[in-house]
């Protein structure tokens, strides 16, 4: 074979391979662009869906407070509200799996017309409150418990703390605030003639806006063994300003209940054997309902918040690609974080 033919063969092979490479690269580039456009469209679609869920009331308007009703159209907005992004306390409560009247995922999926798109909902206070028991000391007839309270807000923000300690039928309230390093100290005294599980309910309110009120509940032992986890003896459901308790054991006896918020406290008024009225108060604060009782000879204190916040409702999107939309919403005058996550749109 002449040398010229070999040269031409190599030359042509080079040109063809380069042309193939260029075509492949161009096709890849175009495919990425098309995918990017599809992602943009998908994101816009899901953003509209999230906005609709947060700003529409659903059908019927009062599906949240009507415990026997599942909505035909899903929306969380409060009926008749003039505040932007105000959601209904009962609609949120019905997303909590702890609530007796909770909606199922299929109810929500059907009512929201998700069409196979996975949905996850989470609601939490605007900021976190952390409590740590740092010591206790017996002084006379009382035991003094010292707690350290911190929040996830910037340390420059002064946070006012309103705390309630409950043990058996005894309750004491204490006020405090965080210092410049963002940490507050609280001391509560419990009488030594009581013994059993105790709870410390902490409300934290940011100084610049009273709607920024968060809470946490800390269980500790008062001259007794470690308390059982919450919801061991009772199933508590808060809906339509009524608290319902359901005993989980035969020997459970409920003694009394308390309504606690940042500015108010009161005893719960019994409506029937296992239902109580939740008072309506003008306080931009979540409410904590504490029920005290006995299981045989063992005392317990169990609690539920109102709104009954769903840590996580719906699909678990932990290990898959999801589009997240976060909102700051108002529930009964207080601000909360509401997160909506959607899975991928089925192809």
């Amino acid at each position: 074979m002449p040398t010229a033919s070999i040269d031409t063969f190599f030359g042509c092979a080079l040109v063809v391979s380069v042309a193939l490479l260029a075509t492949g690269f161009f096709a890849g580039t175009m495919q990425t662009r098309v995918d990017s456009l599809q992602n943009t469209n998908q994101n816009a679609y899901l953003a509209s869906l999230a906005e609709h869920i947060v700003t529409s009331r659903g059908t019927p308007d009062d599906w949240g407070s009507n415990s026997g009703l599942a909505p035909s159209a899903f929306g969380l907005a409060k009926n008749g509200s003039s505040i932007p992004y105000e959601v209904d306390v009962d609609k949120i409560s019905r997303l909590s799996s702890q609530n007796e009247y909770a909606l199922s995922y299929s109810d929500v999926s059907r009512a929201a017309r998700l069409g196979g798109i996975a949905l996850s909902v989470s609601v939490s206070p605007l900021f976190d409150v952390n409590v740590e028991l740092i010591g206790n000391d017996i002084v006379g007839d009382d035991t003094v418990y010292s707690f350290e309270v911190s929040t996830s807000l910037a340390s420059s923000v002064t946070v006012h703390l309103q705390c309630y300690a409950l043990a058996e039928g005894f309750m004491i309230s204490v006020s405090s605030e965080t210092s410049r390093n963002g940490i507050g100290h609280v001391e509560v005294e419990l009488p030594n003639n009581l013994s059993g599980p105790a709870v410390l309910v902490v409300f934290a309110r940011a100084s610049m806006d009273d709607r920024m009120t968060s809470f946490t509940v800390y269980s500790f032992a008062h001259l007794s063994r470690e308390p059982s986890p919450n919801n061991t003896f009772l199933s508590l459901s808060a809906l339509n300003h009524v608290l319902t308790d359901e005993a989980k054991a035969e020997d459970v006896t409920v003694e009394c209940g308390y309504f606690l918020s940042y500015s108010f406290q009161s005893n719960l008024t019994s409506l029937s054997k296992n239902t109580y009225t939740i008072p309506s108060v003008l306080d931009n604060s979540p409410a904590i309902l504490v029920v005290v009782g006995t299981n045989g000879t063992t005392h317990f204190s169990e609690w539920v918040s109102y709104p009954q916040l769903p840590d996580h409702f719906g699909a678990n999107l932990g290990n898959s690609e999801a589009s997240m939309f976060n909102y700051v919403v108002t529930i009964d005058g207080a601000l909360y974080k509401l997160g909506l996550s959607f899975g991928e749109i089925p192809k």
Partner: protein
């Protein structure tokens, strides 16, 4: 004669190489596709608008502007965003004159993916002052 043919072959190889280089260099002219961002600017803008509307839901934000309490405004906005979000807020009057003499932000901008929204809010006091609030947000990292 054979030597001349060999040289012609070398020249063709050089031509082919040059043509290849020309084609390869033309590939650099093709713009690189935009990488899809996890938090597109539209989502950031939506969140920023929503936060401003919620903060001013009961007229609280406009009250803080009336009081010229820029530190409280910064704390309020900061509390509504996660730490991974950068923001810069500017308050204008109805003539678009800047009212805040200090920066209301979480520091210098160190992210590329940003969005900016303007919202008009009215004071709830008797003067009904009108403010234009510009909130720029970006996701860090």
């Amino acid at each position: 004669m054979r030597l001349i043919n060999d040289r012609k072959g070398n020249v063709r190889v050089v031509e082919a190489l040059l043509a290849s280089l020309l084609l390869l260099s033309s590939l650099t002219l093709i713009p690189v596709a935009q990488k899809h961002s996890d938090t597109p600017a539209e989502t950031l803008a939506l969140t920023a608008t929503q936060v401003l509307l919620s903060l001013n839901g009961d007229g609280h934000l406009s009250s803080l502007i009336d009081l010229r309490d820029w530190e409280a405004i910064r704390s309020c906005v900061q509390s509504c965003f996660p730490l991974s979000v950068w923001f810069n807020l500017t308050v204008f009057d109805e003539n678009m004159a800047c009212l805040n003499p200090v920066s209301i932000s979480t520091g210098s901008l160190i992210c590329e993916n940003t969005a900016s929204v303007d919202t008009v809010i009215a004071s709830v006091n008797s003067t009904f002052s009108v403010y234009v609030v510009r909130l720029q947000v970006g996701r860090l990292g």
